[in-house]
């Protein structure tokens, strides 16, 4: 079968237009983030930096989760385990070679990515539910490992000394905040690139119908494995600065329920079909929780997140983004 090709000039023009369209929202986002950062510096307290850090950390986790969960439809319940792999990679590095944080983060990403590959290799050939169930149990087994591993503190935990200041960046809390900001930007750029690439379209196809996707030439197992590893790696990287953020790490905080729940609730509430959904969910819920922990208990706080999530998936399965789209369509 031969198809006549579209004229070259038209194709080139289209390509340039695509590229311009792709850059616009990124530029907008960069401006918003810069403004937020100036505001933080203007406030200038540790609390402001650390609150921003927490929100940004959730942006990374929610965005990472959505690469597998939103684009491919495979529900990963083990976000806390992937995050904790990053946390404890960082602890081990801290106790041994003391690499700088930015060198530790790629290591944490690799470790968590390998975990994703391993679990994925065993379970991704089966129905999606089996993968999800395996990830549920994964958190339990990883925390069992850490509890029994005295070197990283066991169940009692381990202290990490956080320097007061660091060259060029001033207060260490400010530095942590900048690191997580960059991490958030990297995650969003990756998620957005995945979404627009053939990798992402292949994931979307297999999400809808795996057999039909295979028959269209989509190597579904490979794509799923790649998505699991990528998603896990980003979560691991997000965990690496955590020991310096809390300065005391124990399994209960590293494998915390709040991480597992928020990471799933944020994309589902924001909307899973595009990169912007998890970002909206994370910024909204993350900020609300930062404000709310001052007034109500953290358990009640999480309860609200859980209830919100159930309400959203039952009544608005496409999240906030879906609601906005629906309103727009109705107006048009």
């Amino acid at each position: 079968m031969t198809l006549p090709h579209a004229s070259d000039s038209a194709v080139g023009e289209k390509r340039a237009r695509l590229r311009a369209r792709a850059l616009l929202p990124l530029a907008g986002m960069a401006i918003v983030l810069a403004l937020v950062f100036f505001a933080l510096d203007w406030v200038g307290t540790d609390y402001a930096y650390l609150a921003a850090y927490t929100v940004l950390q959730y942006v990374v986790l929610a965005t990472a989760w959505n690469i597998l969960g939103g684009y491919a439809g495979y529900v990963n319940f083990a976000s806390a385990a992937f995050f904790a792999v990053g946390v404890y990679t960082s602890v081990i590095v801290y106790k041994t070679v003391k690499l700088p944080l930015i060198a530790t983060m790629p290591l944490a990403a690799v470790a968590a990515g390998l975990l994703g590959l391993g679990v994925g290799y065993l379970t991704l050939r089966l129905r999606g539910t089996f993968f999800s169930i395996a990830t549920l149990a994964l958190s339990v087994v990883m925390s069992t490992l850490v509890v029994n591993w005295a070197y990283v503190g066991g169940s009692r935990g381990v202290y990490v000394l956080r320097p007061q200041t660091i060259d060029f960046f001033g207060p260490y809390t400010r530095y942590l905040c900048i690191v997580m900001l960059i991490m958030a930007i990297i995650s969003i750029v990756i998620a957005r690139a995945v979404e627009r690439s053939w990798f992402g379209r292949g994931l979307a196809a297999l999400k809808d119908d795996e057999i039909a996707a295979e028959c269209a030439g989509v190597p579904s197992l490979r794509l799923k494995l790649a998505a699991t590893a990528l998603s896990g790696a980003l979560m691991g990287a997000a965990g690496a600065p955590f020991p310096f953020f809390v300065t005391y790490v124990d399994p209960a905080t590293a494998f915390g329920l709040s991480i597992a729940v928020n990471t799933i609730a944020m994309p589902l509430i924001g909307g899973t079909s595009t990169w912007i959904g998890p970002v909206i969910g994370a910024v909204l819920l993350g900020s609300l929780q930062q404000i709310a922990t001052v007034t109500i208990s953290s358990a009640l706080n999480l309860l609200i997140v859980g209830v919100l999530m159930v309400i959203f998936i039952t009544l608005a399965p496409n999240g906030i983004v879906g609601l906005v789209q629906k309103i727009r369509e109705r107006r048009a």
Partner: protein
């Protein structure tokens, strides 16, 4: 014919638990040939298609595609070699637009990498199957016959050498059946060998150069449609059950 065939099987067996769905099927398809595969419900037609395309592993036998042994090959690799299928019940990617549905096999099975070229070729495929006007629509807005066309378009976009159309006309009206038949003939004219699995005898007779009859997982007759229709076993299987 086996030397010149693009797709062939030898002794393909498929069991589900204790039930034997296919008991040793030999099958050959020549280049640019049009073959009809018929048989009553539960005769193993769809199972055979699933074994050929890799949706199901077979328990014994060999499958060859243009000289390559594809018996144990993953479905997506078979699709890349040029073995495409449409599904009995349309299975569009519901989250993607009609054009994006066509783009998936263009990018993966046909291996195109340039986005602008993929988009242009997808539009051309949509013109060929008569869905150009629906390019940006969601699959859920399509009618039955349009969904069938989308199935064929997606198979076509894989740039296949062989197309297996699994009941592409079930549940359509007479004029719609004709539409699909014309389309399949056009595809065949462009050099694609086609296996048509069908219940609608009129369509099979009109379309096929050769007809194969499966009953209870075994091939009971093979030949021109006239020969096969007068075959005593076929008559018994269709009328006497």
């Amino acid at each position: 014919m086996s030397g010149a065939s693009v797709l062939s099987s030898r002794g393909v067996v498929k069991r589900f638990g204790g039930f034997t769905a296919l008991s040793g099927i030999d099958f050959d398809l020549g280049p640019n040939e049009r073959v009809g595969l018929i048989g009553p419900n539960g005769s193993g037609k769809s199972t055979f298609v699933n074994c050929l395309t890799g949706a199901l592993p077979c328990d014994a036998g060999k499958i060859d595609f243009g000289g390559t042994d594809i018996t144990d090959m993953a479905a997506w690799r078979r699709a890349r070699l040029g073995l495409a299928r449409s599904f009995q019940i349309p299975r569009p990617f519901r989250g993607l637009t009609v054009r994006r549905n066509i783009e998936v096999p263009l990018a993966f099975a046909a291996g195109l990498s340039d986005q602008a070229q993929i988009e242009a070729e997808a539009e051309e495929v949509l013109v060929r199957v008569g869905l150009a006007a629906k390019s940006r629509k969601a699959p859920r807005s399509l009618s039955q016959v349009e969904l069938r066309k989308l199935e064929l378009g997606r198979a076509l976009a894989a740039r296949p050498k062989v197309l297996i159309a699994d009941e592409a006309m079930a549940g359509l009206s007479d004029s719609e059946v004709d539409e699909i038949l014309v389309l399949l003939m056009q595809l065949n004219d462009s050099g694609i060998a086609i296996v048509l699995i069908e219940h609608i005898m009129r369509a099979v007779v009109r379309f096929s150069q050769r007809v194969i009859v499966l009953v209870a997982g075994a091939k009971i007759a093979e030949g021109t449609s006239q020969d096969v229709m007068s075959h005593p076993e076929v008559v018994r299987a269709y009328l006497g059950q």
